[in-house]
């Protein structure tokens, strides 16, 4: 018994999971992750999607630099200087005047906010909210799924009850209810209100997203825990925590990655949707908010609406396609 149990089990269950990777020529095992990445590398759609996503991530990270490079400022409120008082649209740029480098996407009606700056910072908000909420809900989903799946009896039943409870609660209603509470709690301090709004939104999105993953993981754990390598680990007295995170978790990478990549775009959409409804973020730029403001003026100033709509569309489409590709790559049944 000199072999460390972990390696033994890994070898065991890899062979068990993915027999097709073990051939006469290549005896060395490859993890599901490696295989998936190998497959993704050859998937043109996945590469393209990743490039689009990378673009948006860079835009989000370097938002201030991009604004500086274009010489635009976020929410400078020069309203009366830049707005034609008769049309209430900009004195320069679309819709009434030609393209100008001063304001490549034009300025917002009324406030004169530069729309490129709004777009760039809106991208930042979208990605930040969506990724933080996705990470949080993934972590929560994994923890609850693992614990529920591995524990027998009352703990499983309690956790499953909570999963069902949260699943049954309507998301929009929850968001609608929470917004006024946030507002009244932080009413007096606008700067704190902005922070509170931001984290409350992430909280709402997280609370209503983790359940499917928890269920998925619980189901997987159900079947895995009866497998030999887990049984073996138990017999030799490996602590439960170690079994959960070192034995079970590595086998759950596929569903987790898939959940992650598919809930990101869903949350980008949800953020924009909530902002559109006026219960999302109002203290910082957001695509949903821009869409909300632009809709009534679509006839006169279509670009105002198109910019954030295309932003959301491109980002969500790329995330979805990449998510699909990742799922395919992890699925042992797909052959390419």
């Amino acid at each position: 018994m000199s072999l460390p149990p972990l390696e033994a089990e890994e070898a065991l269950h890899h062979a068990d999971e993915l027999p097709e990777t073990v051939s006469e020529d290549a005896i060395h095992g490859r993890s599901p992750m490696q295989i998936a990445f190998e497959r993704l590398r050859h998937d043109k759609v996945a590469i393209l999607s990743a490039a689009v996503i990378l673009f948006f991530v860079l835009v989000a990270i370097f938002a201030p630099l991009i604004c500086k490079a274009f010489g635009v400022e976020l929410r400078a409120y020069p309203g009366s200087e830049i707005i034609d008082i008769n049309t209430t649209f900009g004195k320069v740029g679309p819709p009434d005047h030609g393209f100008t480098w001063d304001h490549p996407l034009g300025v917002e009606r009324g406030t004169g906010n530069d729309l490129l700056a709004e777009w760039v910072y809106g991208c930042r908000t979208s990605l930040m909210v969506a990724s933080i909420a996705t990470i949080l809900s993934t972590v929560i989903g994994i923890l609850i799924g693992l614990v529920a799946g591995f524990s027998h009896g009352w703990l499983d039943r309690v956790l499953t009850f909570f999963v069902d409870l949260f699943l049954s609660f309507p998301f929009i209603l929850g968001a609608l209810t929470l917004a006024p509470i946030i507002y009244s709690h932080w009413a007096g301090d606008a700067s704190k209100l902005g922070v509170a709004q931001f984290w409350a939104l992430i909280g709402v999105l997280t609370i209503f997203t983790w359940m499917p993953l928890a269920r998925l993981i619980r189901g997987e754990v159900f079947s895995l825990r009866e497998r030999e390598f887990i049984q073996a680990a138990r017999v030799i007295g490996v602590p439960t925590r170690r079994i959960l995170f070192k034995e079970l978790l590595p086998n759950l990478i596929a569903p987790i990655v898939i959940f992650f990549s598919l809930s990101l775009p869903a949350l980008v959409t949800a953020e924009a949707g909530l902002a559109f409804l006026g219960i999302g973020l109002t203290e910082r730029p957001s695509w949903g908010q821009t869409i909300n403001k632009a809709v009534p003026y679509f006839d006169q100033f279509p670009l105002w609406l198109w910019a954030p709509v295309l932003g959301v569309m491109a980002l969500v489409l790329a995330l979805n396609l990449l998510g699909d590709a990742i799922r395919d790559a992890f699925d042992p049944k797909t052959r390419r």
Partner: protein, 603 residues
């Protein structure tokens, strides 16, 4: 009798409510219009100023208007008019109707009252003319007794005569206009001015009586508890008309089918969907009516439609039914250019001023120099632009209390701050003023609707401008517009700056200063309490009616110069669309509504 004044010392609700409840605080909701004549801000009560003067119309009284009303040149009879809107209809019970739209619809077409407003085409303004009464009422020397002689030949919609009992019943019903009464939303002038005002009305207290009305033949005499020179104006409300015996039953049911004495009667009315169909009342005799025309055969109101932008577009496209349709909603800012070039935009003033009220009870506003510093620092232009208020179309910049056309309004307008109510503020000067007053970092607390991105933009502009001027702006978020309305009107709300409007019920200074600037005023949101001003208001109200107007103008100037309790923001106006076959559509500047009685369909 010229323009008259009156008192409202109890401070009951004195303002006719805008058809949109949100209008006063949510500027985006008031797509109102400036005078279309080209922004002239001058005014007088002489009535020869032409179209663009607002509010003065009712100052013109014509006790001798002949019945029937002289026909309108070229007007054709027949047709159905669709009226479209988005604000719905509140109570249509004649005793309770107090919104500009319900009052206007009932008064112009269905329920007749003692007096009425009528469009005067020569003066391009409304004038007060007799209705059921043969004149505008006879009064004693101190306006504590009014007598109206009721015309013969007035009939209900079933052909029966309107009796003097019906008249008394109708007028007495208005004593039930109070919060716990049968008509909680009705105007309370009867209770305030008539004798026996403590009586709770015939519905709440059937055994009681005001003992204020006596009948002698066709004469009806009302005793007042205090001078009420404005009685002819109150007489124009639907509440000052007859009620039949059956109105004493279920008031809610009667409100859905009030009996008509006017040219049209209710065919159907669904309060839930605000669908109202009016058809001809054959028992209306034009020979008894100096004010109303009734050219169309039918009116079809559908005024709770969803999207105002779609409504605008439908009227602008002018296809099919839309050609014989009209709206009394103000157009959306986004429809402005198209509407202006369509030639079918009806514009004109409406009788409101929107203020930023500084809460003078608060120690930080004690020093008038600090208040004036706020007015100096105020960024009008950016705020108006950001919140979607189009100056010139939606509003006229204000520097005074009285809106254009109010009798006695000072002309040319004075301006305490000297910026004409426009511009982006002078932060340097304001900071200097604050420094001189030793009041740097004066907190300015105000509400904003955090769910509305344009309101957030407006908030950010205020914060920026006031910070630069050395104030300490402290916006307070509220979750929605309803909450904002509620808190704004709460005297104990933790704010010291309020954004609210005031609309007069009739064109007289008494309709402004008592409610808004007397210490007992119902809408005194600056909480100004100056015995000297209270005394002046009382003094002016006890003057002969035709002498009051210049004193109101002087009082306006005195309050603004010596107290500066408000930053006047803007005067409202109307911009309404009509279909291409709708003719005779003018702006009723007393209510900010269409002149329903003069409208006809081109066949």
């Amino acid at each position: 009798m010229g323009a008259v004044g009156s008192t409202d010392q109890k401070g009951v609700g004195l303002h006719m409510r805008l058809r949109s409840l949100l209008a006063a605080t949510s500027v985006a909701a008031i797509a109102v219009v400036a005078a279309c004549g080209g922004g002239s801000d001058s005014s007088s009560s002489s009535g020869d100023q032409g179209f663009s003067e607002g509010g003065s119309g009712g100052g013109i009284m014509n006790a001798n208007a002949p019945a029937p009303a002289p026909p309108i040149d070229g007007a054709q009879k027949g047709g159905t008019i669709d009226v479209w809107g988005t604000s719905g209809l509140q109570s249509m019970h004649p005793t309770e109707a107090y919104f500009t739209n319900t009052t206007s619809i009932l008064s112009n077409m269905v329920t007749r009252s003692l007096t009425q407003y009528m469009w005067n085409d020569q003066k391009q303004a409304m004038e007060l003319v007799p209705d059921l009464a043969t004149d505008l009422g006879q009064h004693n020397a101190d306006f504590t007794e009014w007598t109206f002689t009721i015309r013969d030949g007035i009939k209900w919609q079933d052909g029966s005569d309107v009796t003097m009992d019906d008249m008394v019943r109708g007028i007495k019903a208005s004593f039930d206009n109070f919060a716990e009464g049968a008509f909680p939303n009705g105007a309370q002038y009867s209770k305030t001015y008539f004798k026996g005002g403590t009586w709770k009305g015939p519905f709440t207290d059937p055994s009681g009586d005001c003992n204020c009305i006596s009948v002698d033949g066709r004469d009806i005499t009302i005793q007042m508890s205090r001078p009420f020179p404005d009685m002819p104006f109150w007489g124009s409300f639907p509440a000052m008309g007859p009620l039949p015996q059956q109105a004493m039953g279920d008031t809610a049911a009667y409100g859905t089918n009030p009996w008509s004495t006017g040219p049209y009667k209710f065919q159907s009315f669904d309060p839930g969907t605000s669908r109202l169909v009016l058809v001809r009342n054959e028992f209306w005799d034009p020979n008894t009516d100096p004010g109303r025309h009734a050219y169309p055969d039918e009116w079809d109101f559908d005024v709770d439609r969803g999207d105002p932008t779609v409504l605008d577009r439908t009227l602008l496209e002018d296809q099919g039914d839309a050609q014989t349709a009209m709206s009394y909603d103000n157009i959306q800012q986004s429809s402005r250019q198209q509407a202006e070039s369509s030639g079918r935009l009806v514009t004109g003033p409406s009788p409101c001023t929107i203020f930023w009220y500084m809460d003078t009870r608060k120690p930080e506003w004690e020093n008038i120099e600090v208040r004036k510093a706020l007015g100096t620092a105020w960024n009008f232009d950016d705020y108006r632009l950001a919140t979607g208020l189009a100056m010139g179309l939606s509003a006229v910049p204000a520097t005074m209390i009285l809106p254009p056309g109010m009798p006695g309004r000072i002309d040319p307008p004075f301006d305490v701050i000297g910026n004409g109510g426009t511009g982006t503020g002078d932060p340097a000067k304001a900071k200097q003023m604050l420094q001189d007053a030793g009041a740097l970092n004066t907190p300015v607390t105000f509400l904003f609707d955090a769910s509305d991105p344009t309101a957030v933009d407006g908030k950010n502009i205020i914060v920026k401008a006031l910070s630069e001027a050395g104030f300490d702006p402290q916006p307070r978020a509220v979750p929605n517009a309803d909450k904002e309305d509620e808190l704004t009107q709460d005297p104990d709300a933790p704010i010291n700056l309020r954004h609210l409007g005031w609309c007069s019920d009739w064109p007289s200074g008494s309709s402004w200063f008592s409610p808004v600037f007397s210490s007992e005023g119902s809408s005194n949101y600056s909480y100004l309490s100056v015995p000297k001003i209270d005394q002046k208001i009382t003094d002016i109200e006890s003057m002969a009616a035709d002498q009051q107007p210049p004193h109101w103008g002087d009082l306006d100037k005195e309050i603004m110069t010596d107290y500066y309790p408000v930053i006047p923001d803007y005067y409202t106006a109307d911009a309404m669309l009509r279909g291409s076959k709708i003719e005779g559509y003018h702006n009723d500047e007393v209510r900010g509504m269409p002149t329903f009685a003069t409208i006809w369909v081109k066949q």
